[in-house]
Symmetry: C2
DNA sequence: ATTAATGCAAAATCTTTGCACTTTC
DNA sequence: GAAAGTGCAAAGATTTTGCATTAAT
């Protein structure tokens, strides 16, 4: 269990405080989901995965609440959305700049540290626009 | 109209020949869609866009056929799928290695020439896997 | 003639919405 | 007790599927 950031361990009280700091009421569902999401180290998940986990932990939430919560957390900057599959969204607890391996055979993401990819040169954004994100996805499959 | 590749202009006969070379029967629908897709210069499109275009050109196709055709063309290597939006798939007629701007405000893709991005260093693929693709997407939005 | 492709409508997914009910502050 | 959040079921959107019909070779 890492000691390098304030979301590790995630005792109920601390999660609640973090939620309130983001103007999110500390409801039972949100605190429960937050513990699942941020309870251990960084992770990637889909809405469906989170929903199943919650249910199997005995946390009583609806799908709508899972989606609402994920979106609230996105807005609050607690999560980042990763687009690798047109069928579903992935959410990443690591909001710092970094890149991804996507295991096509397993529908699974894995972080790549930003230092493992050197992007030496980027085009400047078209006039009137600003860069909001640079995503590098390395798709891998079984050899 | 570019003269630099065999798909430019795309007279019906030539499209039909290209289809047959890929073991695809030259049906009226496929030839019609191929003309829309490859008729001018390189482009990006969603299934829905292609379907609307076909209908407004008077080409009688169903949605299922549009999807079937896009997938056949993907398999044949005529198209490449670009994942930037979890809601829908984009298809790119440019199958050569290159990268993309994604205009978040307009849901629109634009090619970035491969020379405009210098990827100096890539991590090696995890054991037992091979890299099937490296996608770089620069998301831009109105300033 | 054989076999592939098409079209339609129905189903499957994933996600969002509307609204009454509940909970938090 | 006011306002925000939740749950449910229904609706949306995109994509896939099943199967009878049509068209290409």
């Amino acid at each position: 269990m890492s000691a390098d950031d304030s979301t590790a361990e995630a005792p109920r009280k601390m999660m609640a405080a973090r939620l309130r700091a983001a103007n999110l009421r500390a409801t039972r569902q949100r605190v429960g989901l937050a513990e699942l999401i941020f309870g251990s180290s960084h992770r990637h998940m889909t809405a469906e995965q989170l929903y199943s986990e919650a249910r199997s932990e005995g946390l009583n939430v609806s799908q709508a609440t899972v989606y609402n919560t994920l979106h609230s957390f996105l807005e609050a900057g607690f999560l980042r959305e990763i687009v690798v599959d047109p069928r579903r969204s992935y959410f990443d607890t690591n909001t710092a700049p970094h890149h991804h391996f996507y295991y096509e055979d397993e529908n699974r993401l894995e972080d790549i540290s930003p230092s493992a990819v050197r992007l030496e040169q980027l085009p400047s954004p078209p006039a009137g626009t600003r860069i909001s994100d640079v995503d590098v996805v390395i798709r891998v499959s079984k050899r």
